[in-house]
Amino acid sequence: MSVVAAGCPSRLTPPETGSVASNPAPFVTERGGRSALDIVVRGASCGGCLAKIEKAVGQLDGVQSARLNLSNGRLHVEWIGKLDPRRITDTLTGLGYGAAALDPGNPDKTYARTERRLLIALVVAGLATVNVMVVAEPLWFSPDVDAATRTLFHWLSALIAIPASAFCGLPFFESAISSLQRGRLNMDVPISLAVILAIGLSVYETIRGGEHAYFDASVMLLFFLLIGRFLDARLRRRAYAAANALAAMQTSSVTRIDGKGAAEAVKASDIKPGEILLLTAGERLAVDAEVIGGESDIDQRLVTGEVEPVASFQGQTLHAGAINLSGALRVRALAPASRSLMADVSRLLEAGEQKKSAYRRIADKAAEAYVPQVHAAALLAFIGWLLFGATVEHAAFVAITVLIITCPCAIGLAAPLVQVVAAGRLFQRGVFLASGDALERIATADHVIFDKTGTLTLGDPVLVSGYSPGDLELAARLARASRHPFSRAIVAAAGTGSIAASIKEHPGRGVSGMIDGRLARLGSVDFVGAGAGHSSELWFAIEGSAPVCFRFEDRIRPDAAATVRRLQQMGLSVELLSGDGHERVGAAAAEAGITVWTAAAAPMSKAAHLEELQTRGRRVLMVGDGLNDAAALAGAHASIAPGGAVDVSRLASDCVFSGETLAAVADVITIARQARSRMRENFAFAALYNFVAIPVALAGWATPLVAAAAMSASSAVVTLNALRLSGAGTPGDPR
């Protein structure tokens, strides 16, 4: 293969290294002789990536089409014939992108359908509003028009407004009915009532040949409400799609060896305890299993938080999530995938999620308090006006005006709009927000707990200086053939280049090969034969020269200290909580300027410490990446994970940041706090608006059209206030 720059050609996005192999074969769908596969691609961000990926995959045998959707990071490949799907994912990882097959039985179709339906309704409502206004508005400014023309124009309005309202109102009607069936009142009940009553009474007036009809009010109302609904649905779908992509990155296929010794790729969910699995180098274990054959090194960083790989041994119990680094292993499954450690953690997450859902849908909670009062006000207006001798029609019109003017539009838009704008702004900085309501929680956090490995530090070992460039180049020729984290660190320092001849991996010990006809070895101190050494060292020896030593360290993120200082200035207290040893945690804490730190914390004690802090009334923001942090992330008041985090942790977090800088953590809090003030302003404005508007409507001074206009104006104010968030400069702006 020619030497192509790994990952995004723009070099703005770092290549995805350490991607884990998994056989995509079980996820291929067949239809009419064509095979199709959907793959989640990580690290693709520009037109260069698009061209590079589509070209490379398109050149594989039999591939009919390869199309990458850059918006959701999915590659759809269709081919004819016997192409091994593994070659597609291998091509992608060879190019420097992360690749994982997407389970076709795991669709986000319902979310897509909801969003699409709301979009169509929104467009229909918009067009209907414009056209009803064209027909209805002239009547307001020509009072001397004759009755026949007026009625004709009313019927024309009805012709547009009735079908449009019936179609665009459906999402609201359905939601209102299902809410009533559960014996509750949500926002959609008064909305549906207002729309139906306005249309019904307008029709009655038109039949009677009356002076006023309010068809325009009902479609305009629906149009503005649909804007809020659509934005909300879009944010939800994006969050779900991202979560789904992360789930796909978890191993979901395994190689099973049947009774006759034949290997077969199957879905992880189909594995039963006792079955024999083959775990090739680079694969991640999907179920808890016991080693029965083979020799290798195991990277357990995701499970235990320890950076250094361990050598495997016969009878060793491996937890799901462990990565096999060098040799092939035969393992016996101990538990089905649904009962593995990963799944246990996933269940913990769900429990934590449920705790958080108390904060969900602030708008709905507001509606529950607000809606009955609106209904009462409208009913009072109706009865009151009747008592004071008004006609039934007039009383009904006042009641409709009250319903429309108090329509919870501004309240409905207040939160989702701010969330969309804030999420967009965070996205520009490489921060992905999992849910809109997370902002509310992040904004109120007062205590930050960092994990060490992979969070405060970069997670991958970095070569410490003190080596000669010549040795590095020679060692890299061996290291390029190995997946060991130390080898990868050497390659990262040396860059691309050639690979030594007759490479041989010695599981648990090192790599050997021939360089210029001389035997070279790279590996542990015993393997190289250099005497005594340390486990965080890698030795390199070539025939005819003395062995050289490479040292590694887990380097702290470059701006960790600055970020900790910034957080403290923002009034948050900072703590370090790690599963690693005392010495290393203490050193990292000192370097980052954190005074409160705990080392050797087990996953459960992390979660317990958090629980304890939260019962004391602290609102904890957890920043962590490992499987050992997942429970703490899920249980915390709010949580943030770095992009390199283990999948369950990313799924458990409220937001994920990418890149090497930790500044994102402070940025998120800053933006969340700004978003929170915008939301509060919006709610305050909406309350004030109602305070003024309801008496006006009750007094009968407003018509339904004026009510719809006032309601729209209040929505516009709320929207503009939300947009204010996108422009405001923040300290620490990267550009």
Binding site: G47, A51, K55, L68, N69, L70, I120, V123, V134, T149
Partner: protein
């Protein structure tokens, strides 16, 4: 007065045309990948999707 009716008919017709155009764009997947479409415009070697 009848001229107004023609105007209204024309406005309605245009609205229906616009709606049809929008639905066509939605069906043909033009809103599926806005980010990719922006980049593809700059790509010399791009070919239309083969479906």
């Amino acid at each position: 007065m009848s001229v107004l009716l023609y105007m209204i008919a024309a406005a309605l017709g245009l609205a229906i045309l616009a709606l049809a155009g929008f639905l066509w764009a939605l069906r043909s997947g033009q809103f599926e990948d806005p980010a990719g479409a922006a980049w593809r415009a700059l790509n010399d070697e791009d070919h239309p999707a083969r479906e």
